[in-house]
Symmetry: none
Subunit: 257 residues, 2 copies
């Protein structure tokens, strides 16, 4: 086995589990303890993990404290959330996907009443559950520790039984050609299914998502009726979007009441 393979494997183990002991790695790899130690020393020196007594810990601070993880551009996302919530009347049924921007939508919906909410995000669930006689349906599936979202066949099978007034999904990226993109296939498939599960389909994405790429292209983009963002996109993307049958809303954050 090549040294590089070993180190990649060790790194991925450390990063998925947060930490790992040398004994544990030794059980998986058929090499001596010293070799693993040397690998860890090398990975530590190149700052890809941190060596500790008996093993190694990941450098990515994988704290599942995702409740306080509203990191990038919180102000923009809040404006987007407010704009999105203003589309929704009390008593509506809505689908909310996972993601930090859709979390902002959920926050902005705290003032609404009698909503029927379908979501694959435990965070959204926790926010809207028990508030103002909302009914919250959680989609089933394997929970991703990174974002607290359920994904997979269980989620899509369950979602197929429902149809809502609104759906709000985020985006991994929106390409220069105006494609909606995601980072994992499962997420893309769920988003695609969500888009055809509601009358009004809204994509929320702050300006940081525009003009970038992600590996998966999300289908059913033609179902999208609204795109809400916080700044006017570049002319090239804007042109691509205007060719589509959807409304682009720029949430400027001005209180319109």
């Amino acid at each position: 086995m090549l040294a590089e393979e070993r180190q990649r494997l060790i790194l991925s183990l450390v990063n998925t589990r947060g930490s790992i002991s040398i004994t544990e790695i030794k059980r998986k790899l058929r090499v001596s303890r010293e070799t693993i130690r040397r690998d860890i020393v090398a990975l530590d020196q190149s700052k890809r993990l941190r060596k500790t007594h008996g093993g190694a810990v990941s450098m990515e601070q994988n704290e599942p404290e995702m409740n306080v993880r509203q990191v990038m551009n919180p102000a923009g996302k809040q404006k987007i959330g407010t704009a999105a919530a203003s589309l929704v009347p009390d008593g509506a049924s809505i689908i909310i996907a996972s993601g930090t921007t859709t979390q902002a939508v959920a926050e902005a919906l705290l003032g609404h009443r009698d909503l029927t909410v379908f979501t694959n995000s435990v965070i959204v669930c926790g926010k809207l559950m028990g508030h103002n006689s909302n009914r919250v349906y959680m989609l089933g599936g394997e929970v991703q520790p990174i974002n607290g979202a359920t994904l997979g066949r269980d989620a899509t099978v369950m979602l197929a039984n429902y149809f809502a007034d609104f759906v709000f999904i985020g985006a991994g990226a929106i390409s220069p050609a105006g494609w909606l993109m995601d980072y994992t296939r499962e997420e893309g498939e769920l988003h695609s299914l969500m888009l055809q599960s509601a009358r009004t389909a809204v994509v929320v994405a702050d300006h940081g998502k525009f003009g970038r790429f992600a590996p998966i292209r999300v289908g059913n983009f033609e179902k999208v009726t609204h795109l809400i963002t916080d700044r006017t996109p570049d002319p090239e993307i804007m042109a691509a979007l205007e060719a589509l049958p959807l409304d682009v809303l720029i949430a400027d954050g001005r209180d319109n009441d």
Copy 2:
């Protein structure tokens, strides 16, 4: 278990609960009192928590949320949880129903690794998700605001696809005749289905549940292999239980080290 993992776990326990005693940590981790003391001393010196007589308190000013809601007999439930967790090896697949006693089971499982968890409780999900490379599957369905549990057809349909090593369910009541009872039909049906979805089926119920009634009788009680409680039940109930093919375990809470 790596020292750093231990300290991370202690820190997260302290921060979610506001404070914790060394004895309590010892129940969850399988290390000696001195080791925990030394961990706490180290965490105190790096100002990540404050050491007190018998335990530690958090340095975060945030109040511990409604996570530590008024529960009946928390000490008994904790003992039950510890006893339940001692049945489970690392790497096992387990189903955990909703309820305060099953939450105690989930807490006691924080020291385990590589668990595959199926649950209908968002609280259990939040506790075990992202810990020690557990995989958590959330059952779908309508979320009950009272207990954060998903119920209904979505949950049962999804659960039917899975089979686990262990299942832990609570009880609304255990009648004098030794019947397992619940308060709602949907909960009873889910519990009944859960009982036949694992090789080892464990009912956890503190002594307050015995000799009482609830409207729904749960089926598949004959699948139950273990009943864990915190006090020896009344002779009448005990006799009824001993006639059944299950082990009655009394969690006495003694630390077995």
